[in-house]
Each structure stands twice: as C-alpha cells, then as structure tokens.
Amino acid sequence: MPVGAQGEVKVWQRRERGRQFAIWLGWLAGTALFVYCWQLISEITMWDFVWDSPRVAADIGARMLPPKWAYIEKIWRPLWDTINIATLGTALAILLAVPVAFLAARNTTPSATLVRPVALLIIVSSRSINSLIWALLLVSILGPGVFAGVIAIGLRSIGFIAKLLYEAIEEIDDTQVEAITATGAGRGQVIAYGIVPQILPAFAGISVFRWDINIRESTVLGLVGAGGIGLQLQSSLNILAWPQVTLILIAIFATVLVSEWVSARVRHAII
C-alpha cells in the first residue's frame, strides 16, 4: 500500500506516484484530443444556423402536429415490404452465415491456416459496412426496389450471425463431441449429433435478435431507394409534408416495439 509522508504523519494514498501521474497524463491527452476534434468540427460549422436552431425546431414541431391519420391507408403496403425485407434478409443471412460460422470456428474449420482467415475476413467485411451502404451499392447494381433491400440486409447480417454463432461453436462442451466420435460417427454425423444440438438454442436466439435489429434497419433503407417505409418517409420529407412524416415515425415506432416484444418473447421461450 503506497504511503506518503506529510512531515511526520503518514498519509494513505490510493496509488503510487508514478501511476497517479500516468493516469493524469492519460486524462490530459484525452481532453486535449477532444478539444482538438471539437475545434476541427467547430471550424466547418456555420454557427448562424446553429443559433437559429431553436426557432427552426419549434417551427418543424408546430408543422408536424397533428399527425395526418388518413395517410395510414398508404403506408400499410410499405410497412409489409419493410417487414419482408427484414425477414427475408435475415433468412438469406442465416443460410449463408451457418457454413461461414462452421468454417470460422477453430474446432470445426477444415483448415485453420487457409480457410479460417478467409471466413474471418468475410465476417469482418460484412460487419464493417452498414446496411445502408450495402443498399446504396446494390441499388446502383440491381436497381431500386425491395429486392436490393433484402440482399443488403442479408449481406450485412452474415457477419453478425456468423460471428456470434462461431463463438458459440467454439464454446461447446467437447466431451459430447468425443462421445459421438467414439461411436464411429463420420464428420457430418459428429456435427449433426454432437455440435448442432448444443448450439441450436444460441442459434435461434441470435437469429431472432438479428431479425429485431433488421426491422429497425430496414425502416431506413428506402432513403436510398431500397424499398420499404423509408421510401414514403423520403418522399414526404421532399415535399415537406410534416404531418405525414409524424405518422410514418409513429408507424415505425409501433413496428419496432412489436418486433422487440416478439423477439423478447421468443428468446425468453428458448432460454
């Protein structure tokens, strides 16, 4: 325990002097970095707009209320599309992510030096790129529409599902695998009877969790033309139809709440 001396009296201190100094330096560097970054942003900001923002916010707020309830007729179809994008995208991602996960897990990969890095690279690339960027790309390749949205959500979700799944595979209980192997089972049989039953609950949980996230993400894909409720949002914003925007936001909020409730129920039932 570090003890300092104040004259004759010994005083308890929490840390050694060097360590205390290092922590102080860390805080100093962090604060300096923050201030520097803030300055860079502040330089390219037009502060007149910012000072005007309370008035603009009040103005928008006043225009947004009350919501235009009649518009709900027109958003049932986009909402259905949004849910489809999320669900089909998740299904597509599951199909592609399962093999990737088995190739990436240390205990099931056919080759740790050749195949595993490739699988990990697929996972990282898919995770790093947001679904909106995938959508941007796919809209310019496939044309606008729900199809591009489904593929975008699918590509984005591969990395997420495969990462969590391969971690689950690596954490399985080896004795069960050993027991199945001891009966003379082939490679496929070991996976089917030794590994799959162990990861099935985790797999179901991960899939539902990702579906929940995908519902949220698919609400904005329309902003870049990939279908769903985002298209309606974009067109309402373009014509400054604020009461419609409010209704769309309420619809999104309700959809997300329902999907969160469903996913919580399913995960609760599994675990």
Binding site: V50, S128, R216
Partner: protein, 268 residues
C-alpha cells in the same frame, strides 16, 4: 420359443419445439408467410441483368482500388468521420451516465425512470439516419449535425446497458456504503460505480467502434463524414474510389476492434 420379442426401437432426435401442434403450426405459418412475402417482391430481372456488368465492375474495382485520384476528398471525409467519432463518443458517455442512472429502477423514482426510459426508447427505435435528417434540418449541413446524431444514438445503447447493469448489482455493497451515512453522490461513487465501471469502459470502447461505422452512414443525408464522399463516389459510378473508401473503413474498424479487444482483455 417365439422369435418376436420386442419390436426394434429406433432412436429419434428430440425436436427443438416439443408440442407437435405448435411445431407444425409454426412450420405451416412460416411456409405461408414465405410464399406471400416472396410473391410480393417485384424483381425487374432485365434491370438486374443490365446491372450485373456494374456489379462486376465493382468487384473488379476491389482488385485495383483508387486511393489517389480523389485523395483530397477521402482525407477530408476521414478526418471529419474520426473527429465526429471522438467527440460524439465523449459527449454520448457524458449524457448516458446521468440518463443511465435515471433509468435504473433501484436508484430512480418512477417519474424520472419513465422519462429516462422514454429517451432511451426513442433513441433506440429511430435509426441514426432519421435522427440525422432532423438534426441537419435544425443545425445545417456538416459534421456538427452528425456529431449530435451519434451522441444521441450513443445514449440509447450505453444508457440502456448501464441501467441494466446497475439494476443487477450486488445490493449489499451499496447498502454498506449507505450505512456509513454517505450522501447520495458518495453512495453512487463508492457503492455503485466500482461495480459497473469495468463493463462501462468495455461498452464505451465498443461504442467508439460503432460510432465510427455509423459516421460513414450519416453522411448520406448530409451530416458530414466519409459517407458523403462515398455517396458521391457511387453517384458518379466511380467504383474504384468507392472500393478504396470501403477498404479504408474496413481497415480502421478492424484496427479499432483489435485495440479495444486488447484494452478490454487487460481490464479483466
């Protein structure tokens, strides 16, 4: 002696869902839904076929990404993204701590709890891009709107997880501090903070990562950052520049993930 003793029994794998009615019902429901959903997607195959060339051009672009031609734009975008990441994470943490405290049922009275949970729900429901649209309308184009968006989005993530962490602390320690006659702040500082700190640091590091990734997206609606550069590249069909930007994003995310993994491993 008769040969027929017991019928040979075959072992069958136990199904995931035990009740057969629920199992078949779910299966049938899923099949009907899939048919309806797939049926309602309209794919213009001619357009897809035409686009395949462009898709291939994009794949090829990854083998020869062009960092040089638009390097000025890429550099500006990257600097904006990185500064946005740093400032928004710091601001986000500063905002998340009080809201997280307020959203923990064992600390806060009911009205405060409901208010804080409401803020968290709004922040979690609406994607960064939607929030960014509003902030751009209010604060004008540029990284300030993006920074505020990411700060707000950080609240939904960090405050929620912090609140859940606080709700599951060991109440004995907090009670012990209380019993010494500590005030509210001292109670938080000595009874609760030490219990949640390691996880809070880990989550904050993870959030740095997410904020960088999201900073690449808010640019699509004009809130600054590398996303603006990327959108422009796609609009001009400059796939080689787009590929370069995506490679840079992946590299930075990998680096951030690796470092934060190292730091988290040391904290444990």
């Amino acid at each position: 002696m008769s040969v027929a003793e017991s019928a040979p029994r075959r072992w069958k794998r136990p199904p995931l869902i035990k009740s057969p009615r629920l199992r078949w019902g779910l299966g049938l429901g899923a099949a009907i839904y899939l048919a309806l959903a797939v049926g309602s997607i309209e794919v213009n195959w001619e357009r897809v076929y035409e686009g395949l060339d462009r898709g291939w051009a994009f794949v090829v672009a990854f083998t020869e990404p062009d960092f040089i031609q638009r390097w000025g734009d890429i550099r500006d975008g990257l600097i904006e993204s990185l500064t946005m990441t740093v400032t928004s994470t710091v601001l986000g943490i500063l905002l998340s701590v009080p809201i997280g405290l307020g959203a923990a049922r064992n600390l806060a009275p009911l009205p405060v709890y409901l208010l804080c949970r409401g803020i968290i729900a709004i922040s979690r429901t609406f994607q960064e891009v939607i929030i960014a649209i509003f902030f751009v309308a209010m604060f004008g184009f540029g990284p300030l709107a993006g920074m505020l968006t990411l700060s707000f989005a950080t609240i939904g993530f960090l405050a929620k997880l912090l609140a859940e962490d606080i709700e599951s602390i060991d109440p004995g320690q907090a009670e012990a501090v209380r019993a010494t006659g500590a005030g509210w702040l001292q109670w938080i500082n000595y009874g609760i903070q030490p219990q949640v700190m390691p996880r809070l640091i880990g989550l904050s590091l993870y959030r740095v990562d997410i904020n960088f990734r999201e900073s690449a997206v808010v640019g699509i609606v004009g809130a600054g950052g590398i996303g603006a550069t990327l959108t422009t590249a796609f609009d001009r069909y400059e796939f080689d520049t787009a590929a370069a930007i995506i490679i840079i994003i992946i590299a930075i995310v990998m680096f951030a993930e690796y470092t934060s993994g190292l730091i988290r491993a040391r904290l444990k």
